[in-house]
C-alpha cells in the first residue's frame, strides 16, 4: 500500500480534513461554508477554476415560482431561508451588504398569453400557496404597472415576490472565501482521479499525479460530472447534462424590473423531451444587461451554442418585451444543468459507498438549492437531525431503474 501524502489536505489548524468536497461550484461552496461553520475541517478540490462549470453557465436564479407543489419546492423554501442566514454571515464577514453577491429578491412574474393558460397558472399557484409560497394573481390590467414594457394583450399572470437572483460566480467565490476564513482549504485545478476506499467505504480522494487526501467523508458536488465521480466509487448515479443557452444584451437603463417569463417555462422544466425546448425568460441585472433564456437540450457535453437556438431565444424575448427588438446582443453563453430522471437532486450518504455523500443533480435550481443543500450536508456530516425531508432525495432511489 502506498503512503498517504498530505498535499494541502491539512487545514489551517494543521488537522487532516474531516471532509473533502469535490466541486468548487455554488453547491460545493455552500457545503464548504456550512461544514466549516459547523466546526469541521474542510478541503475543497476542483479540476477547474472555482465556479467553472454549471455555476457560471446560468442566470443565478433563486426561484420558487417555477416549482409546482412537491419535494423540490419544499427544498427551495427551506433553502431560501438558509440563503438569508448565509447572506447575513457573508455580510458580516465581507462588510458588504448581503456579501456583495448581487442578491436581490426582486420577484418573479409568470405571464400567460391565453386565458386557459392563466387558469393553469392559478391552479399551480394554489398548490404552491398551500406550501407557503407567496403567489399573487395579476390581472391583465395590472401587468403594465408591474412591467411597463411587457407586450400588450397578455391574459394575466402570477407574481412571486420571493423569487430572486444573485450573481452566481460572485456568490460561489464569496462562499469559498468565507469558508477559507474558517480554515477551509480550497484547491482548484486539481483533478480527482480516484477515491481511496476500504471495502465499500470511501475514505479520501486520489488526485491526478497520485497524491491523496484522506478524509472520513467525501462530498460529491461535481455537478453534471457527479455521475463520473460516483463511478469512481463503483456506484451508478444517473446524472446527465442538459444544455441551456443564455443571451446577454448591451447595458440598458432599467427596462425589466423582475424576472419575467412565459408560462410554457414550467412545462419545459419538467419535460423529458430530448429536443430543443425554449420559452422566454427575461430579466435585468444590476449591471444593466438583460439576460434572456431559457433553452433546454439534452445533447451531452456539446459545447456549441447553436445559431438556431440564439435566434429562437431572441424571438421569444422580443415577443414578451417588444422594446428589446432594438437592443443589441453582446454575448451568449451556455451551461450544463445536471439532471436526474425524476428531476430531483441527490442529497445523502450513499448506502452503497459509505462515506460518500452526494450533493448533486440540482438541474437548473442549483443556485436556489445551494444554501439548503449545504445545511443538509453539514447536518449529515455532524450527525445532526436533518432539517428537511431527505426521503425523496436518496442516492439509491434509481437502483433497478437502469
Amino acid at each position: 500500500m502506498s503512503t498517504t501524502t498530505a498535499v494541502g489536505g491539512s487545514s489551517a489548524w494543521g488537522r487532516a480534513p474531516d471532509v473533502v468536497i469535490v466541486g468548487a461550484g455554488v453547491v460545493g461552496a455552500a457545503c464548504a461554508l456550512a461544514a466549516s461553520r459547523a466546526g469541521l475541517a474542510v478541503t475543497v478540490v476542483d479540476r477547474g477554476p472555482l465556479a467553472g462549470g454549471t455555476s457560471s453557465g446560468g442566470e443565478g436564479n433563486l426561484l420558487v415560482s417555477d416549482k409546482p407543489a412537491g419535494p423540490e419546492l419544499l427544498l427551495a423554501l427551506h433553502s431560501l431561508g438558509h440563503w438569508q442566514d448565509v447572506a447575513a454571515h457573508l455580510e458580516e464577514v465581507t462588510g458588504h451588504p448581503l456579501g456583495g453577491i448581487e442578491l436581490e429578491h426582486k420577484g418573479g412574474l409568470m405571464v400567460a398569453s391565453r386565458p386557459e393558460t392563466v387558469a393553469v397558472l392559478d391552479r399551480i399557484a394554489d398548490g404552491q400557496r398551500a406550501l407557503g409560497v407567496e403567489a399573487i394573481q395579476v390581472g391583465p390590467e395590472s401587468l403594465p404597472d408591474l412591467e411597463p414594457h411587457l407586450a400588450p394583450g397578455l391574459a394575466g399572470g402570477v407574481l412571486y415576490p420571493q423569487d430572486g437572483q444573485l450573481q452566481p460566480v460572485l456568490a460561489t467565490a464569496t462562499l469559498l472565501a468565507a469558508a477559507r476564513r474558517l480554515g477551509a482549504v480550497v484547491r482548484t485545478e486539481v483533478e480527482v482521479t480516484g477515491l481511496m476506499r476500504t471495502g465499500d467505504r470511501v475514505r479520501g480522494v486520489i488526485l491526478a499525479g497520485g497524491a491523496r487526501i484522506e478524509a472520513s467523508r467525501v462530498v460529491n458536488a461535481a455537478g453534471p460530472w457527479a455521475g463520473q465521480l460516483a463511478a469512481l466509487a463503483g456506484v451508478h448515479l444517473p446524472i446527465l447534462p442538459r444544455r441551456g443557452v443564455v443571451l446577454v444584451t448591451q447595458p440598458l437603463p432599467p427596462l425589466v424590473r423582475r424576472k419575467v417569463y412565459a408560462a410554457e417555462y414550467v412545462s419545459n422544466v419538467a419535460s423529458d423531451s430530448a429536443g430543443l425546448e425554449s420559452s422566454a425568460v427575461v430579466e435585468g441585472t444590476p449591471s444593466g444587461t438583460i439576460l434572456i433564456g431559457a433553452s433546454r437540450e439534452r445533447v451531452g457535453f456539446d459545447p456549441a451554442i447553436p445559431t438556431a437556438v440564439v435566434r429562437r431565444l431572441a424571438a421569444q424575448a422580443v415577443e414578451l418585451f417588444p422594446v428589446l427588438a432594438g437592443a443589441r446582443l453582446l454575448r451568449t453563453y451556455r451551461g450544463y444543468r445536471p439532471y436526474t430522471p425524476d428531476h430531483l437532486p441527490v442529497i445523502g450518504e450513499d448506502p452503497r459507498a459509505p462515506g460518500l455523500i452526494h450533493a448533486c443533480g440540482h438541474e437548473g435550481a442549483g443556485i436556489v438549492l445551494a444554501a439548503g443543500t449545504g445545511q443538509l450536508v453539514a447536518e449529515l456530516l455532524t450527525g445532526a437531525p436533518p432539517s428537511a425531508d431527505l426521503g425523496p432525495l436518496g442516492p439509491a432511489r434509481f437502483e433497478g431503474a437502469a
Binding site: A173, T188, A315, A325, G326
Partner: protein, 591 residues
C-alpha cells in the same frame, strides 16, 4: 461656410463628405462624446475603428451610435450620450427586412490587405467569391482611406491599386461580389459548407443599403440580416491595437495608436495639435512621421524598447530590406522635423480636466522597470499609444479553429489561429489569412491572403492546391521578420508598476485595478475568465477586446503564473440587434 454641417450639443459642426461624426466633432475641438454609466466620466474617441464603443453618441434621438465609424450627414442632431439609453424602436432605427441569402463558393471576411489578396487569388483560381467587409471601402486598417482615396500617409499604394483593380475586375465579370458595411457576427461550419451570418448597415428610416456613396449608419441606421452560404471561407479579420492601462488613459485625447492613424488616414483630422506617440513597435515611427507630415506638432515618440532586440537579430531583420528602408525613411522624417525619439521610455500617467493636457513619462531600466524619480510631464493635447496589435480571432474561434499561443506572434504573447502555410485550419473549408494567423504586417498579410485564397479555390474545385514555391519562401521570410520584430519590442513590466489602485482597467465597465486584484487575491480567481466573471472586466460593450491583454497579464502578475494569451470565446462577434435575429428567411435550410 458653404459646406455641410450637423449640430453637436446645439453647435454647428462642419464636415467633409465621408468624415465620421467623431472625426468632425474632434476637428471642431470637442472631445467628450459620452459620459460613463458609473462615474459619469467623460470619454472620447479611443480605438477609432468601432471596437471599443467608448465614443457612443445620440444621433437624431437614437443612442449607442459609435461616433468613430458613423458617417456624418447633413442636418444630424448629435448629442453626448449620458450613461445607458433605451433602445430605439426598430422602425425608428430603419430596420430593413427581410433578410438576404447569398450562396457562393468562397466567402472572404475582411477587406484589408489579406482579404483583398485572398479574394483576388480565389477568383483567379476560378472560384465565385463574396467579399464581406465591415468598412465602407476596401483597404482595411493599413490602407484605410476616405472618399478621396489614398494619400501621402499611405504606403505601398501600388500594391493597393493592383489589388483594387483585381477585385473590381472580378466584380465586373460577375465572379466577385463586394459587400461593404457588412458586420459578420457568426460563422457556422455545417455539413460540408460554411454559413456566415452578417448584418448590413442600412440608411436611416426607409433608407437604402449602405455603400461606397455613404449612408448606411453602422449603428443608428437599420440593419439588414445577410447570410452567406459558401463552400469555403477565408477569415481575414485583421487586428486591432493592443493597449494597456495607465492612470488617466480614459481621458478624452488619449487614443489608441491605430485610432489616431484612422483619424489621419480616413478623415484627415489631426488627433491634436501637440501629440505624444508612445508604446512600442515600428508602427509608432510610421504614425509619428504621418502626423508630422500632416502638420501636427509631435512632442516626442516614447519607445519602450531600445533597439538591442534588433541588433541581436540582425540577420532576419536584413532579410526584409523593404522594411528597413521604410524604417529609415520614418526616422529621417522625424529627424528632419526635429522630433525626439526616446528609447526606454514609457507613459505612466495622463492628466487633464475632462481632456488630456499633459502626459507623464518615465525612463525604463534595461529590464523594462520604471526608473525611480525619472518621471516628467510633457504638455500634449493628444496621446497615441500602442503596444502592437491583437488578432481578431472570434470568427475563427466560432468556426472551431485551434488557437495557439506564441510569443512569436505579438509583443504581448498573443494567440493566433493555428494553420498551415496556405492558411488551412483544422476545420475543413475554413482558411485564415493575415493577422489572425499571427501579427506580421501588410506584406505578410498579402502573401498569406494569396496562398489562402488559392487554396480555398482549389478546395472548392476539389483539386489539390499548388502553392507557389516563391510565395511560400516569401511567407517564411516575412514571418521570421515578424518574429524578430515582436521579440525586439516586448511589453516591459514597468506598465504594471505605473498602475494605481483606482486606475481603470476595463473602460466599459469602469473596473479599477484594485477590484481586479481583489478578485484574484481575495476571491480565488486563478485565471482571466474567472477574474472577468468576478470583476466584470471584459463584460461590457467591447467584450474585453480592449482590456483583455491587460487582464490576462494582471491576473498572471498576481498569481505568479505566465500570461496565457487568454482569448475569451465570443459567440457573438459583433453586437447585433435582436430584431436582426428574428427573420426566418435569414436561416438557410440545410442543402
Amino acid at each position: 461656410m458653404s459646406g455641410q454641417s450637423f449640430t453637436f450639443e446645439g453647435r454647428s459642426v462642419p464636415f467633409r463628405p465621408g468624415q465620421s461624426v467623431g472625426a468632425a466633432v474632434w476637428a471642431a475641438g470637442d472631445r467628450t462624446l459620452r459620459t460613463t454609466r458609473g462615474e459619469a466620466d467623460p470619454r472620447g474617441l479611443f480605438c477609432g475603428i468601432g471596437i471599443c464603443h467608448d465614443c457612443l453618441v445620440v444621433i437624431d434621438d437614437v443612442g449607442d451610435q459609435r461616433a468613430c465609424i458613423t458617417p456624418a450627414e447633413e442636418g444630424m442632431v448629435v448629442r453626448v450620450q449620458q450613461g445607458a439609453v433605451p433602445p430605439p424602436a426598430v422602425a425608428a432605427a430603419g430596420h430593413v427586412g427581410p433578410g438576404e441569402l447569398l450562396t457562393t463558393e468562397v466567402v472572404v471576411i475582411g477587406g484589408g490587405p489579406a482579404g483583398m489578396a485572398a479574394a483576388a487569388a480565389a477568383t483567379a483560381g476560378g472560384a465565385k467569391v463574396v467579399l464581406l467587409d465591415a468598412e465602407a471601402r476596401v483597404g482595411g486598417q493599413y490602407w484605410r482611406h476616405g472618399p478621396h482615396g489614398l494619400g501621402a500617409q499611405h504606403h505601398a499604394v501600388e500594391a493597393f491599386t493592383a489589388l483594387r483593380t483585381a477585385v473590381d475586375g472580378a466584380a465586373a465579370i460577375g465572379l466577385l461580389t463586394h459587400r461593404p458595411r457588412h458586420r459578420v457576427w457568426r460563422v457556422d461550419p455545417e455539413g460540408g459548407r460554411v454559413v456566415v451570418h452578417a448584418v448590413q448597415a442600412c440608411g436611416g428610416a426607409g433608407g437604402e443599403a449602405g455603400g461606397e456613396a455613404g449612408g448606411g449608419r453602422p449603428d443608428g441606421g437599420g440593419e439588414r440580416p445577410v447570410t452567406v452560404a459558401a463552400t469555403a471561407v477565408v477569415i481575414a479579420t485583421g487586428a486591432h491595437d493592443t493597449v494597456l492601462p495607465f492612470p488617466g488613459w480614459d481621458l478624452p485625447g488619449v487614443l489608441a495608436a491605430g485610432g489616431a492613424q484612422a483619424l489621419l488616414k480616413e478623415h484627415q483630422v489631426l488627433p491634436g495639435r501637440r501629440v505624444v506617440v508612445a508604446g512600442t513597435g515600428p508602427f509608432l515611427l510610421s504614425l509619428a512621421a504621418g502626423l508630422a507630415q500632416a502638420g501636427a506638432e509631435v512632442a516626442a515618440v516614447f519607445e519602450a524598447g531600445d533597439g538591442r532586440g534588433w541588433a541581436r537579430r540582425w540577420r532576419s531583420a536584413t532579410a526584409v530590406p523593404r522594411a528597413l528602408i521604410e524604417g529609415a525613411q520614418y526616422a529621417a522624417t522625424l529627424a528632419r522635423q526635429r522630433i525626439p525619439v526616446r528609447a526606454r521610455h514609457i507613459v505612466v500617467a495622463a492628466r487633464g480636466r475632462d481632456r488630456l493636457e499633459a502626459v507623464e513619462v518615465a525612463r525604463l531600466t534595461g529590464e523594462g522597470r520604471l526608473v525611480p524619480g525619472s518621471a516628467r510631464w510633457v504638455r500634449a493635447d493628444a496621446l497615441a499609444v500602442g503596444w502592437g496589435f491583437t488578432p481578431r480571432l472570434e470568427l475563427a474561434q466560432q468556426a472551431g479553429c485551434t488557437l495557439g499561443v506564441s510569443h512569436a506572434i505579438g509583443p504581448a504573447g498573443a494567440a493566433a489561429v493555428v494553420a498551415d502555410a496556405e492558411g488551412r485550419t483544422g476545420v475543413p473549408g475554413v482558411y485564415v489569412a493575415g493577422e489572425v494567423g499571427g501579427i506580421g504586417g501588410a506584406p505578410l498579410a498579402q502573401v498569406t491572403g494569396r496562398l489562402a485564397g488559392s487554396a480555398a479555390a482549389a478546395w472548392v474545385r476539389g483539386v489539390p492546391s499548388a502553392p507557389d514555391g516563391a510565395e511560400l519562401a516569401e511567407r517564411r521570410r516575412l514571418s521570421a521578420f515578424a518574429a524578430t520584430m515582436h521579440a525586439a519590442h516586448p511589453v516591459p513590466p514597468g506598465w504594471v508598476e505605473a498602475l494605481t489602485p483606482s486606475t481603470i482597467v476595463c473602460r466599459c465597465e469602469e473596473v479599477p485595478a484594485d477590484r481586479l486584484r481583489h478578485v484574484v487575491r481575495e476571491l480565488g480567481a486563478t485565471d482571466p475568465r474567472t477574474a472577468k466573471l468576478l470583476s466584470r472586466c471584459g463584460m461590457g460593450w467591447c467584450q474585453g477586446r480592449v482590456c483583455g491583454t491587460a487582464v490576462d497579464r494582471l491576473v498572471a502578475d498576481v498569481t505568479g503564473r505566465r500570461p496565457g494569451g487568454f482569448v475569451d470565446a465570443r459567440p457573438v462577434a459583433a453586437p447585433v440587434r435582436l430584431a436582426s435575429l428574428l427573420d426566418p428567411a435569414d436561416t438557410p435550410r440545410p442543402s
